[in-house]
Subunit: 302 residues, 2 copies
Amino acid sequence: MSLLVVGSIGLDEVETPRARRSDLLGGSAVYFSVAARFFSPVQIVGVVGDDFPPEYRRLLEERGIDTRGLEVARGKTFRWSGRYHANMVDRDTLRTDLNVFAEFDPKLPPEYRSADHVFLANGVTALQLKVLDLLERRPKFVAADTMDLWIRTTRPDLEKLLRRIDALVLNDSEARMLTGDHELLKAGRAIQRMGPPTVILKKGEHGAMLLSRDDCFILPAYPLEEVVDPTGAGDSFAGGLMGCLAASGDRSADSLRRALLYGTVAASFTCQGFSLDGLLNADRRAIDARCEEFRRMLSLPR
Amino acid sequence: MSLLVVGSIGLDEVETPRARRSDLLGGSAVYFSVAARFFSPVQIVGVVGDDFPPEYRRLLEERGIDTRGLEVARGKTFRWSGRYHANMVDRDTLRTDLNVFAEFDPKLPPEYRSADHVFLANGVTALQLKVLDLLERRPKFVAADTMDLWIRTTRPDLEKLLRRIDALVLNDSEARMLTGDHELLKAGRAIQRMGPPTVILKKGEHGAMLLSRDDCFILPAYPLEEVVDPTGAGDSFAGGLMGCLAASGDRSADSLRRALLYGTVAASFTCQGFSLDGLLNADRRAIDARCEEFRRMLSLPR
């Protein structure tokens, strides 16, 4: 089944206590696509400036990602820079330059308009709504991510969006901000009442929680001895998850649970290198092997 | 099999954003004993002052906890007071008055000296070592807890202790402090090299991780819609865990994993009321039922 993602495509600068790297390929739609591509074909919608390195476009194409929806606009590519604290979890955003992403008016190539699975990665809420309007039929499964900025500044749009999606994927702190509830179970249930039948709460190094109408599933994160760069882990998680769902075509509770496992493992590979290095060093076999190892770590004997 | 615990017995004052309660029964050995008693007989070693309310002693005895090792000393009972932040996780310790606990010289009634399972709850490290010296034979399983204060101030004693126990149970932040490693897996492995073959890392609302020689097991916390008072959750976790181990007499990897499940569920009941109210409102049936419900939340379909 087809999987469409719209989101940011950017150039990142990342500083950790051990290293500093710039002009890295990044952006929510990029991490999502590369992770999802292990499981399913992916169509990407986004915009870059005319300074976007051709080797980065080639990288996406060589991974088999459909880039017909990748627009090149006059101007500069979206840029983000951040600095991680010693715990490799907290970070300060040093700069966000939306550049060509600020004025992005998404267009969907005809082949994209009948996507079965759609992921609206983190971005302006109006843009996420616009993409839904451009689809020629209701997809089987639409999920969206959002962040504190849009919760604060585009709340009416966000409320509209929540009524049009099947699943919201967001960070724990954002779920708390959106609902005012600290306990995640309560916050998740409150979000369900705003629209999406399924809510997937990302807890970073602590894993994820899935709430659907009749289901509550909790999955820790895969433990790493060393985190090199967690940038993009949340988007890789969503990519693995949606890639799995698109591959199976099944949205049962069991299928969602399995998808969370693959998303979690994809995210763990992302954390093991700067930019996409960790993900690019993995292959489907390594992902499956880690899933099996992780299952053993989680197994509860009778 | 017999289970012995030594630790604090105190009177707490707890302030949350919603309520403030004082003269509450508390202390590490108390939470531990009440949780462990669901699974196994427990012998408690500790000291209180002559101001200790007789109804609190009765409460322990009515639960079937062996209080022959509970000494009454002249002076005041250990007191602790703390204030929880809005997230019900972070807290400020407002006061710690060790009182009679400061000079406590533990004595073991003869019936206690052949305990099979021993838990050295949070307390001065020298006291923990002393209890080990008073035992007439090496127990089958000794676990200990510790905290930032002892890591900072009694490090040489702590290093001695680590070489004499089978398991260390401690908070994630304390594991980081003890080892200097942020990643828990790395910190846990470093602690194993200091002595204990088994390390159990408590992550509060995020669950626990168990490391033993050949095993790594991760368990989230049971999700609650409302946390009333998390004081004592870590000690209740240890109590459920050790109670289970003592009841089964089995220290296999599977048995340890099951024990973590019961400990986690015992801790969840503690969080649902002030002081011991949440635990006291539970019974073995409620605990088993929640364990089953929790298993369903954690189950990963093939």
